[in-house]
């Protein structure tokens, strides 16, 4: 039977009953999205491991899936939680390596750009700035501002209250604004010239 002709709900139902071919379709369909989200939290090598782990977790818990739940929201939740766990453990490991981080920041300093940042470079710059945020603020910022999820979806993915999401987003945007201010000033000066 051609699996491609089946609707997403039917594919999930088949995977739920243990059909590995149906599950393979889900893996092929969502791996790019999950990899992209993971890359916003971690580096590429780690992101690949996270995606693999997330799909294994999805397979193990697929029997809990209810048709009312949006699969992408569920996948976002799994990936974000795994990334946050990884960030927390990394944060613990890197606690005593502040000097190294400062050194890296100095090397990759884009505060005085000689050309406008584009594509991947711009994203890398923003994500580099976001590293100074707390894991929660970072998660809220990535999901809301970079992934474009609605506030309700962010609440659902992170299991947080609306007020909590709002305050984390406020602090994240404020912190990033202060860091980006210099970039904007330089850019504005260049536009005036």
């Amino acid at each position: 039977m051609n699996m491609g002709s089946l609707s997403e709900t039917e594919i999930i139902t088949r995977a739920k009953s243990g059909d590995t071919r149906a599950f393979r379709i889900l893996v092929e369909r969502y791996q790019s999205m999950m990899f992209s989200v993971s890359c916003r939290f971690l580096d590429k090598d780690e992101a690949e491991d996270i995606v693999q782990e997330a799909f294994i977790r999805l397979w193990k818990n697929l029997h809990k899936y209810r048709p009312g739940i949006k699969l992408t929201t569920w996948l976002y939740r799994i990936v974000t939680n795994l990334c946050l766990d990884q960030l927390k453990s990394k944060h613990r490991r890197n606690r005593f390596r502040r000097a190294d981080i400062t050194e890296i920041d100095a090397v990759k300093d884009h505060s005085t750009p000689d050309k406008e940042l584009e594509g991947r470079e711009l994203l890398q710059y923003v994500l580099q700035l976001a590293q100074s945020l707390t894991p929660k603020q970072r998660a809220v910022f990535i999901l809301r501002d970079l992934e474009g999820l609605s506030s309700d979806e962010v609440c659902e993915v992170l299991s947080m209250k609306a007020g909590n999401v709002k305050s984390n987003l406020y602090y994240a945007r404020k912190a990033l604004h202060e860091k980006l201010k210099q970039y904007f000033e330089v850019k504005e000066r260049r536009l005036l010239l």
């Binding site: 009953s17 590995t20 990899f35 992209s36 029997h63 711009l122 994203l123 506030s151 604004h177 904007f184």
Partner: protein, 193 residues
Amino acid sequence: MNCDKVKQNIYGYDELTETEKGSLHDHIAQCNSCALLFREMQQQRALFRKASQWKDLPPNPDRLTQNVMSSIKTPAGRKVRPVGEMIDRINLVPLRLALTSLSFFLIIFFVSEYNMTQSTSRYNKSYSETLLSEKKEALDSGRLVERLKQKKRPTPFTSFYDCIKRCGLADWQYLCEECKIKFQKLVKKYENS
């Protein structure tokens, strides 16, 4: 609306209602510092939107799919745990509470039972030790002879002589009844002879 509140709303502009947005625009039309912040935040939002368009893709999607598919257990492996699945389906809070309280009750019951068994065995031990010491005492040869001596009933003859010895012949009328009868028999025997 004061500037602090407006600045807070500028950072969370997306989350505002239409009315809140209207009053914010009224304020920034009159306040230069808030207007500047609003402009910067608009630029920042545009920058994030631009950055979010870049999505990292997995370097080798086929390998990633293969890794995921080889990591997942066969469906048969999942079906072997009917008890686990049944437990997963128990989603009734009262039932869970009841099971939790039952388990607490059983723990308390078994702990108290164990304590009781311990104290009984301690008592039995001390009781058997007492019995054993009594038997040992009884088997002690010196004491056994003493006991036998105590228990040995005196022969009438021995008793008679003892009695004579104790009371004296002169006062034979003070002898005990048994000895008196024997004494009279002896006297009769003597007279006949």
